[in-house]
Symmetry: C2
Subunit: 802 residues, 2 copies
């Protein structure tokens, strides 16, 4: 494993926007941090580990044998285990806290409203306000990068952009405690997106051996200096986050695969899968412990999982139309949601959040008050309905006993035998509200009027809340919105069928319809907003524990995604764009077809360095521009120039700082005689930090007069493309291999060899391949050809043209 | 879509081992067909569509606007729909036929054995023999490529190797009818692997617009000349096959993703998902029709789906040990299975199957007779057990009524109130046997002795049957074997617990244990043999319709795969290796670290062509070697040579055959004045065919004296690597981009430009990016720099070195 990652020169340079100025204003919300690296002409910094492979690194690895490789693999798996356990425990902790805060809040409020609704409202409002304030305070003062869902940032990291602060220890802490405050405080947001970020942070911190700032780091896990390893760990962390958030291990794997990663390897799938399985076991075990009641208000419902196994398991062709309608509604509302949140976020960024942290806290507090007022006040305006008589059969009490979760909330009703349907969904935790909406046994619980009111208000709240300075996920609000209109459509379908008197067994169909339609509605809204397909489908199936609805969910998702795609991009892409995270999409842009490689880098002045360069020149070059990579050029004995590799700004800075490699002679040193003065890890840069800066380095005038031989420190063979290659091909090369720098060179003058599949099937013994062929003699015979290297280098061209 | 695939020059050259001699001996079983292309030095043929992009193709596309692109996308989706419907119907047809043949066979046999067991045995044996003979006859005489499961071949195709015959119409027909014979004939094999191949064939035939040989092709679907499109369709077909075989749509998508494809794009996921959803709907609709009994013996159990929703949904920590034991057993037995089938297949290939088709048919018939004898004879030796008394409660009759499916088969018993437990699993269709093994309500039905006997015999039969000349899947046999030992372990666990008297509610645990352990056993054996993880897990969950066992299945799979990996490769990899399918693995080999690009192509003599070449020279070059790609070299005005592109053997052959491009002058023609004489599609080669051959082309002596200007027909910018690049980097480039040819060129002398992420984020309007940054003025400012192209081309080097 190690061998493949580090020694063999896989291009795994996927790191770090660096040179970010530490301005207060920019670091407050993780937005706008990316502007400075874009000033520079040289592009993005890179961590090619092969750069120092030849000397320092190989030396360090030389005395480590196969045992070390085994150890390395074992550590990787152990880390996957730790990520699983850590993310699982974090999820349990967040859920436990949220459920207990919310449970205590509602219990207290209900106790007080028995005497005074006004006092109850004040208590409810104040508790929410305190929770939201604490969340906003943590975020603005302590961990600005923990605001929002974090998924766009993680997507960016896995695409190759490390936004400073995203994966720090303080972000992790901020995310965990901020989520507890914002979700416990009853805002229209969820804790699932933040859990994905939490998982990623845990993974990243493990990968770098703890936080350097808080002196929590140990030495041994610093194995993971390769950026590919770190990225793999973060991918595991994402999957673990989803698995923990939804108790959906397969969904987690698919989410990591479909939504967040940019470079996926099937070997990784196996480890991601393992992490998810561990999370499932941890969460399950924790839930088992809590069954005995030791976890306070945290009951079986604490984790998002709605067992709807008594849902519809058959459907009629004529139902496909209302289902398609749900898909269309989901696509429209989802696209609208993306658009509205886009406007909201732009407005916030350009006007509101420029005014500082205080305004952000005020904003969160105001939204909290409004949310409290609406969720308490609207049910007051609604008249209560009498409890249905059939309910007692199904084991559901009406009204529910005070202080318990359940349907049929008695809220501001005149008699004890009534319930308030709006309060059942509005004046409740979101998990319970969803459970009530999905409930199959309460088919006539909600009036269309209440559902419509709730839909409009909650949709507005979700849009307004999105983008405040608190950790916020969009899954649960999406499910709330979707299941509300899904249930509405279900009600209309039932009424329509009843009017026509077509169906036999209508009560059964009614019952399951409500449930299935609520579920399909939820899927359609999430599909219309997030545009995920396979992963969302699996997550929906796993949280409802009902496989029979799978094809229906699939079809609804197809419709809603197609409708949504007609209007705008997915939520995460829109947000990433807004946050200035320049994601490289997997496909080249259309107009690239007409461009060639040279045109893409026209505006950019290439600064090449000679192999042995004066320190003063290095310093002045580094000061005069912001390029992050420099070609290094040497002369052959015959006087021709030759590109010998790529050296990175960050490595040059390390060299300038350490000074041990300075030499007096302007002649190249002998690499074999040269002592190794650098440890491999010196060139590595911690995740989410800003690295060295030329201004930080002090050089004496003696230093400036010395020379450095760059040969040991360069990447000897960066990928190259001919100058007139189609830009789409260049894009594919760049994107598929996850590169940072690509040399555009003149067309070659001759072809030394042609590599085909067969040439790459060589086995260790040097034979062509272990493939046993019946007539394989001729294959082997190929190697006995008298084609020497000289022949190969001098093509037949000479004969033909000569 | 079109634009991205064809016009823009994405390297999508993933086609065709060609130049395969049409020898009878080689074409009989699809093995050894790959030897000849490996004789050649030039490697594998390619279909770079960009090759003719500049002239013929662009001309053809020029008058097609955006409407055409929309049409193209619509056709793609329509094809996904057709693939879904086609594969679903094929699956329904196969299942229907198998169930009816098998049902009729068992009904007849049971009717006869009421009078005479000997006569019954003869009838049983003869029916099986006839079915197996018909299958073997179809395969050997008509569709040799339809033997086996076909998954290694499909995997090879998606990896870039088109084994002739794999995706033909006759293979499809052979696969469908062959499966019916072999599965209906009671052999120890399944119909699931063949269904994957069936799906792939349907997809490929749709993609090329029907079979050319059988005059079924139409013109319009010939849109899909790009190999990438074809590969996408085949991927959809694979997923559809799995979805249809197991009624597991998500499992199908994951199978395609994890097991078969080599290049996966997330856009494709969406379409694969759609196809799977369609399959699910088609199969469900067909099952709905059959519910009324119009499908004969085909009942609800015809499709593989075992609803085990009343399985164990909780587990104890002390159960993890027996579960790990199941995993270990699965890993060991699976690895042993791979090894034994490897020896069997090698032996068959080297000795048995060399003797011709007759021997293959004999072999299949003998195996059929042995299987019949064992499955009929062994239960005869087993004493019957009295029916348990508790059974009547659970709705299961004991013994089952004659002619029905179910548990408790009364076979060779003295009284009517007895059943034969070995006959229940052995003398039954495999689907019913699995259902009986998974059955939760029959916890004491099987004695350990019967299960052990069955395990040993069936394992042996499965090994021996593997590799005969009939379509054969390994899923169902694997599930049989696995669930048998799983149930055995479950029995021991129950006994152990009972002895210790630890557990309360033992009967419930016993009941669910048997079931869960059978399921876990099945998963472990498949994991140990096929080494799939996520997809297998999802398939197991989908076929048993029980999500609660998911974490347990995951953990068992982890153990069994790890154990199996310690011994050998997965079943499909072993078989692909045996069949001479040289799969390019996703990771470079360890020893490549020490090699450079030049070393990989040392043995190979590059033959370069000049831009304008004499026809006689082309012909003699094509005759004198077997290279499939040739660099084309031209002179600049200053006399330097310049590599201007790559021309393919297949395209040269098309040019030689059509002769319209021959010219008298040895001077290059003006490309703009040149009429377009070729249609783009002339250069495309149908899937699974052998293409043109130089020997087929007749050239007159006048022709030979003429010239061809190759410029319009070449790929103007193949990917290049410097000669001393690490071979692992070369491998990654080759593998990730799915290349066919890669030029090894000298190190460049200068760097014209450096491409970074930023350069590739250009938007259509030419601006840097739509990313809105707070301090973005400096970014835009970059474009106002006075860096001209000349500056960029002349690096700072001159200043520094001069």
């Amino acid at each position: 494993m190690l061998s493949n990652h580090l020694q063999n020169g896989i291009e795994s340079d996927n790191l770090l926007w660096s040179r970010v100025p530490d301005s207060d204003d920019a670091s407050t919300d993780g937005v706008g941090l990316l502007s400075s690296p874009r000033d520079g002409g040289g592009g993005v910094d890179s961590l090619d580990y092969e750069v120092i492979e030849n000397y320092a690194y190989r030396e360090e690895q030389a005395h480590r044998g196969k045992l070390y490789v085994g150890y390395y693999v074992a550590v990787k798996w152990f880390f996957s285990l730790l990520i699983g356990i850590g993310t699982g425990l974090a999820a349990v902790f967040i859920n436990l806290s949220v459920e207990n805060f919310a449970g205590w809040k509602f219990a207290l409020t209900f106790a007080i409203i028995q005497k005074s609704y006004f006092a109850g409202f004040i208590v409810y409002l104040v508790i929410n306000l305190v929770l939201v304030f604490s969340s906003a305070y943590i975020i603005t003062q302590f961990a600005p990068a923990a605001a929002g869902s974090g998924i766009p940032e993680i997507k960016g990291y896995l695409n190759g952009i490390d936004i400073p602060g995203t994966l720090l220890f303080r972000t992790l802490i901020g995310k965990i405690f901020g989520s507890i405050g914002s979700v416990g405080g009853g805002l229209a947001l969820g804790k699932e997106g933040p859990l994905v970020h939490t998982g990623a942070c845990i993974a990243s911190l493990l990968g770098q051996g703890g936080s350097t700032k808080y002196h929590l780091n140990s030495r041994w896990p610093q194995l993971f200096k390769s950026d590919r390893d770190r990225r793999d760990l973060v991918t595991c962390g994402c999957a673990a986050g989803v698995a923990a958030a939804f108790r959906a291990p397969v969904g987690g794997v698919l989410f990591a695969l479909e939504e967040v990663t940019s470079w996926w390897r099937s070997q990784l799938m196996w480890r991601v899968f393992f992490t998810s399985a561990i999370v499932a076991v941890v969460v399950r075990t924790a839930m088992g412990w809590c069954k005995s009641g030791i976890c306070g208000h945290f009951g079986g419902g604490g984790f998002i999982i709605w067992d709807v196994s008594d849902g519809q398991d058959d459907y009629y062709f004529k139902e496909l139309l209302p289902m398609a309608v749900i898909g269309v509604i989901g696509g429209l509302l989802g696209a609208l949601f993306n658009q509205l949140t886009y406007y909201m976020t732009s407005w916030r960024r350009n006007y509101l959040h420029k005014k500082g942290n205080r305004v952000k806290i005020y904003e969160a507090c105001i939204i909290s008050c409004v949310t409290s007022a609406i969720s308490f006040g609207l049910p007051l305006l609604r008249k209560c309905s009498p409890c249905p008589e059939t309910v007692t059969d199904s084991g559901i009490e009406c009204p529910r006993p005070p202080g318990m979760y359940g349907n049929y909330v008695n809220f501001y009703c005149k008699t004890d035998n009534e319930y308030n349907d709006l309060a059942t969904i509005f004046f409740n935790t979101q998990d319970d509200a969803i459970r009530n909406l999905f409930s199959a046994k309460t088919m006539r619980e909600f009036s269309a009027q209440s559902l419509l009111t709730f839909l409009a208000m909650f949709y507005t709240l979700a849009v307004v809340t999105f983008g405040t300075a608190v950790p916020a996920g969009q899954f649960v609000p999406g499910i709330m919105i979707g299941s509300t209109y899904g249930r509405l459509v279900g009600m209309f379908v039932v009424r329509f069928y009843k009017k026509l008197n077509i169906e036999e067994g209508t009560p059964l169909i009614q019952k399951s319809l409500n449930l299935s339609y609520a579920l399909l509605g939820a899927a359609s809204f999430l599909g219309g907003s997030m545009r995920m397909t396979v992963s969302l489908c699996v997550i929906m199936v796993e949280i409802t524990n009902n496989l029979k609805l799978l094809p229906l969910i699939m079809l609804v998702l197809l419709v809603s995604k197609a409708v949504g795609d007609a209007f705008n991009e997915g939520l995460y892409e829109v947000q990433a764009r807004l946050k200035g995270i320049p994601l490289l999409e997997s496909r080249p842009k259309y107009h690239m077809r007409q461009m060639i490689a040279k045109e893409a880098c026209q505006s950019q002045k290439v600064i090449s360095l000679p192999r042995v360069i004066r320190v003063a020149d290095v310093a002045s070059i580094l000061r005069s521009n912001k390029h992050n990579g420099f070609p290094v050029i040497d002369h052959t004995r015959s006087g021709e120039t030759l590109v010998i590799g790529l050296v990175l700004r960050s490595h040059l800075l390390v060299l300038l700082q350490s000074k041990v490699d300075f030499q007096h002679s302007p002649l190249p040193c002998d690499p074999s005689a040269r002592p190794i003065r650098h440890r491999f890890s010196e060139f590595a840069k911690p995740v989410s930090s800003k690295g060295l800066c030329i201004e930080d380095i002090h050089l004496t005038s003696d230093d400036l007069e010395m020379y450095i031989d760059l040969a040991p420190f360069l990447n000897p063979s960066p990928y190259v493309v001919p100058e007139d290659m189609s830009l789409t091909k260049v894009y594919n090369l760049f994107r598929q291999l996850g590169l940072r720098h690509l040399f555009v060179v003149p067309r070659p003058s001759r072809v030394i060899g042609l590599i085909t599949r067969k040439d790459l099937l060589i086995e260790e013994n040097g034979e062509s391949s272990a493939v046993e062929l019946q007539q394989s003699t001729s294959v082997r015979g190929r190697y006995s050809e008298t084609a020497t290297r000289a022949d190969a280098a001098r093509p037949l061209l000479d004969d033909l043209l000569g």
